[in-house]
């Protein structure tokens, strides 16, 4: 309970938390309140914001706000699952390699390097020919599968550094159980790194998912925020049309706001797990 209180007391974390709750609410309730109408109305294309269309219209005269709301569900799920799978894999590989060392470390590091270096594109192209991905969990897994090596490497070196540190050595001397050392001493020290990485992967997932859509691995959804940006740039040329600023900016602002909330919350959590930061603040 005190953890939650600390979180709430931290103004920035609170902001992030509220923001995320807001996004979640939009994703949960929005699509029910604002039905998606995909039917084009070319005479109304690229309208600036008005009372009927709060965020204007897209290249085919459809409401931008409705698309944004409907896209939020996908975006939140895909970002979350991608981040989740990437962090999970990275923790498993990075911690094992860092803690155990020796030949296991060697093999895992090599594996990480292979994953870091084998080009994604051919793999995705082959996958696209073999399977059709529809649900966000599989989508997240496919994306997460390529996002973990960076974090795993950082975790490994971080763990190796921490292992030699005084407080871990002290704990070891005190014959505390490895689980205790892991959860009480190591993990808190890794939280900032994991947090930053989770956010980075979750964010990249939006851009990368567009690339995956363009490989045909998943169906095109024009209300996906990343895809909205792509449509604005390439297919419809909104980037070059001053009148279309609202259509270009809306998904951009939404993505930025979403991530901003994530980052604020993450920094709040950092302070939560690292009491020293609280002391200074």
């Amino acid at each position: 309970m005190s953890a939650l209180r600390t979180l709430v007391r931290n103004r920035r974390a609170l902001l992030g938390l509220l923001g995320l709750v807001f996004f979640l609410l939009i994703a949960l309730l929005g699509p029910e309140l604002l039905p998606l109408d995909r039917m084009p109305d070319p005479d109304r294309r690229f309208e600036p914001p008005s009372l009927t269309h709060l965020l204007g219209t897209d290249y085919a005269g459809r409401d931008t706000l409705v698309q944004l709301v409907h896209g939020s569900r996908d975006i939140i799920q895909i970002s979350f699952f991608t981040g989740f799978f990437a962090v999970l894999l990275a923790l498993a590989v990075g911690l094992t390699a860092g803690l155990l060392g020796g030949w296991i470390d060697g093999i895992l590091t090599a594996l990480t390097d292979v994953f870091l270096t084998v080009p994604q594109f051919p793999v995705m192209a082959i996958l696209a020919a073999l399977m059709r991905v529809g649900d966000p969990v599989t989508f997240g897994l496919v994306l997460g599968l390529w996002a973990w090596p960076g974090l795993a490497r950082s975790l490994r070196s971080q763990v190796r550094a921490l292992r030699e540190r005084e407080f871990i050595e002290a704990a070891r001397v005190m014959a505390l159980s490895p689980v205790w050392i892991l959860t009480r001493e190591l993990l808190p020290n890794l939280v900032p790194l994991v947090g930053v990485y989770f956010i980075r992967v979750a964010r990249d997932a939006i851009t990368v998912s567009v690339g995956i859509m363009l490989l045909g691995l998943v169906p095109l959804k024009v209300e996906n925020w990343g895809m909205m940006l792509n449509m604005a740039t390439f297919q419809s040329g909104a980037l070059y049309v001053p009148r279309a600023w609202a259509y270009l900016l809306s998904p951009l602002v939404a993505i930025v706001a979403f991530q901003f909330c994530l980052i604020q919350l993450a920094s709040g959590i950092e302070e939560l797990v690292d009491p020293r930061l609280r002391r200074r603040a």
Partner: protein, 324 residues
């Protein structure tokens, strides 16, 4: 040490083999790619187009995968990367000509973004309650939320079309004589500005965030208090203790970034028509030019693995505790 080097070599070998198999399993082979294009242009039947395509690139499709692999390995041992199927010139020639342009842009961008980003991140960690911190976060999120192609096109829009300050595409104009002369070098520098910015602008925010996180955790460490108690100059503490120790966790990422920078970027180089490895990779993928693809992937694989190794070594030197 020798063992680490050996593991790295093994990694490269495994990655190379995997890549070799993977790219040949992609749907649509090289003759097919050309044939479809010809079919479209000339309205001929597919069989006819295939014949024509095979003649165009003089390709013998009847060689098995194993045979190809072993002859490739054999070539590799003697430093021969094979002949590009679509360009009919040695792959190594393409690599040698394209790599410098990629290196120019990506290393410049990586260092620039690393130095500036780390500086900003450090400041952000020190002034956690000031306006700088949220501004930094905002910048990082904004620059990262923009997909790379959009950053490139926005740069084009502002500096190329709007202000007309910078040349829009290419590495130099045909008006200058390539060589060691001032007009050429200036021209190259001007042409590199936008690609460098397209790489550096988003990376900067990333480094800043990572540095901030790292510095924040170092700030809580006891030795900083000790150092302060010892009466060391604040600036010395800042750079020697805080800066150095918070940069350490970033070294692996920097190594990875530098390593993968060797492969260039397909998107950025395509937008700016910049003749680096990324540009050729995109072409090679489109046309299923296997040897060329393989060569470029090999370079980026080697880049990533070797730079990661180097990163570890540097880290070991920086952190005496790891030397044990």
């Amino acid at each position: 040490m020798a063992r680490r080097l050996l593991t790295s070599l093994a990694t490269i070998a495994v990655a190379m083999t995997l890549t070799f198999v993977l790219i040949r399993q992609m749907p649509g082979d090289i003759v097919h790619q050309w044939a479809v294009q010809l079919q479209m242009q000339q309205g001929i039947s597919y069989e006819q187009a295939r014949l024509q395509a095979a003649a165009m690139i003089n390709y013998n499709p009847d060689i098995g995968l194993f045979e190809q692999y072993f002859s490739y390995l054999g070539g590799l041992l003697t430093g021969n990367l094979g002949l590009s199927l679509t360009y009919r010139i040695p792959v190594s020639l393409v690599l040698v000509q394209a790599l410098p342009w990629t290196l120019l842009v990506t290393t410049l961008a990586t260092f620039l973004s690393f130095v500036v980003g780390c500086g900003l991140g450090l400041l952000g960690a020190l002034r956690r309650q000031s306006l700088l911190d949220p501004l930094l976060t905002l910048y990082a999120t904004l620059s990262q939320a923009l997909p790379p192609f959009l950053i490139g096109l926005l740069l084009l829009l502002v500096f190329g079309i709007g202000l007309e300050w910078l040349p829009m595409r290419g590495n130099y104009t045909p008006d200058v004589e390539p060589g060691l002369n001032l007009p050429f070098l200036l021209d190259v520098a001007l042409h590199a500005v936008m690609p460098v910015m397209a790489f550096a602008l988003p990376a900067m925010g990333d480094w800043a965030l990572a540095m901030k996180a790292s510095a924040t955790s170092v700030l809580g460490e006891d030795y900083l208090h000790v150092a302060r108690a010892r009466g060391l100059k604040p600036r010395r503490i800042l750079l020697r203790y805080l800066g150095r120790n918070s940069m350490m966790p970033l070294v692996p990422s920097l190594a990875t970034a530098l390593g993968s920078a060797l492969g260039g970027s397909m998107l950025v180089e395509a937008i700016f028509g910049y003749p680096g490895l990324g540009f050729f990779l995109a072409q090679a993928i489109d046309r299923r030019d296997y040897p060329l693809m393989q060569g470029i992937f090999l370079i980026s694989t080697m880049g990533v693995v070797l730079f990661n190794l180097a990163g570890e070594l540097v880290l070991a030197r920086l952190d005496p505790r790891l030397r044990r």
